[in-house]
Amino acid sequence: MSYTGKLLRVNLTTGHSQVEELNKQWAVDYIGGKGLGLKYLYEELAPGVAPLSPDNKLILMTGLFTGTIIPLSGKLAIITKSPATGTILDCSIGGHFAAELKYAGYDAVILEGKASKPSYLYIEDKIVEIRDASELWGQGAQETELILREKINQEVKALAIGPAGENLVTMSCITSEFYRQAGRGGVGAVMGSKNLKAIAVRGSGSISVPNIKQFASSMKEFMQTDILTDTNLWANTDGTALLVDFNQDTGILPTKNFQQGTFDDYQAINSDALKAVRSGKKGCFSCALGCGNYSRTGRSTVEGPEYETLALGGSNCGISDLEAIIEFNDLCDNLGMDTISVGNVIAFAMELTEKGIKDFGLRFGDVEAYLKIPGLIAAQVGIGVDLGLGVKKLSEKYGGSDFAMHVKGLEFPGYEPRGSWGMGLAYATSDRGACHMRAWPVAQEAYGDLDAFTVEGKAQLVIELQHYNAVKFSLILCDFWALSLETMGTIVSNLLERTVTEQELSQVGERVVNLARQFNVREGFTKDNDTLPGRIFKETLKTGATKGQLLPLEEYEKMLAEYYSLRGWDRDGRPTDAKLQELGVN
């Protein structure tokens, strides 16, 4: 078995920690990662808890695959209630922390309460200590990791927040290994609200798997036949920056706060441009693809920028200066903030300024002003106080809601839904707000054979993709291995020594999606929240392959109604009792 069967619960208020048995039935029903973390949170968190109060919990969850040689299994799921949206929130983060936690003997850590002073949590096998972090408080996320390595051990694996998390900015992230982030929804602020600057772990144990020889041989075979192939190697040759060209040519590259779907200067920020400043590569635990690309310029070194940063911090802000985008990325990383949300809020403020609604002194393409913003938001000074509210709350304060590009308070990722109508549905129905990692129909619509400009068949497509991704993030695997559910079933069956079919896994995915929905319904979310900004329904795009396109509201509503119906949810988007019973969701 590749579970340790142990869960570490730490109460930061009392300083007490205890080891518990992992709930075996829940592990069968939800596997691990996203699904199992969500189940624990759903059962333990009372409805209505303020996300930044000591009553909220922060759950670190590994998966069935974590710590083994299964390729691309190095990720950790972090689950909490989001301070940005008030919804359920799960993020996944790469690096080596998850495997190290498992080697320390734990499948999961549940953090509760609030420390009385800045602290960090140290775990080394059975040693669990809440330590003073007064010298770390105020440091950048990257500096924090450096200090921890210096103090503890160069091999220690850590999660850390920057000043943004300390200052409870709801777009703050959690960082690991300097450049990997659990980026979205304000997980960093939840850590900050608990006075928890970092979590450091060392593990000396191991994970056992059945039939090790056969297991190792089948992993070697997967490596050759299913990973180091034309279907996955884009992650190695280019990484996500390749998407700049994809999206320019298909008219879905967000530009100037989603006013356009193409960017005239896209060649200044694409993968070819990045290759000119590439200085190295990096992979996570057990990954042969190594999608991490270091870029070095005169002022900064980052791992990336990833596509989302190039799009939201680049074209969407009208910025074509690659060195400036790399610096923006570097600033956000060390301050501990999500580049997607920060890029979005800057672009929104630029449009508010240019439209004369509220003058933030920000204009599209103004590099100097743009580079000042991350520091102001993280420190919560000047216009950083307003911009730190995020796009939704900023629009509620000053107006511009039609072009406030968010769903449920989470800002849009880098795919224009007017050029991929299913993506619009995926954003609107994602459990944590506008997200591209719950379903990504862009591959089938904008890049593939499906007609991007129809709602026909899209509800079913989005449902299937949501189930698939829910399984992938529960196992937990990286998004970049394009493996089939059947292959997942084969690996799971080998580990558990019983047959787990593709259909069973798909039902786990459906169960996870329904439990997440139940969480959000319990928090008061309704059909009215499953919508998109007015711009998507009212304004046509003006350039490229999406010229003349919008997503008609009546078509969107038809697609949403079909989605609810196919899901077995009522007309207001609530899972029916029959559906919950069928899935065993209480």
Binding site: D238, T240, Y415, A545
Partner: protein, 76 residues
């Protein structure tokens, strides 16, 4: 007639790692015929764009067309 070809990511090997390059082809040539001539497996092809417009393999190529071959991509 002359066209321009660009392979992206791991597909670059089908264009001899030349990046953007020009190639002479027969007139009255379809994208399907070009794909076959270049030896690109269909299972590796994600998106084909000609002059910034997504095309299927039935498209009939014209002089000076710029053809881009993108790989299949997962995630985002």
């Amino acid at each position: 007639m002359k066209i321009t070809i660009r392979f992206y990511g791991p597909l670059d090997k089908y264009g001899s790692q030349l990046g953007l390059y020009q190639q002479e082809i027969k007139s009255d040539f379809t994208l399907a015929q070009l794909v076959e001539q270049l030896g690109v497996p269909y299972s590796s092809l994600g998106l084909v764009v000609v002059n910034s417009v997504k095309r299927d393999v039935g498209y009939r190529l014209e002089e000076n067309d710029e053809v881009k071959f993108f790989p299949i991509i997962a995630g985002g």
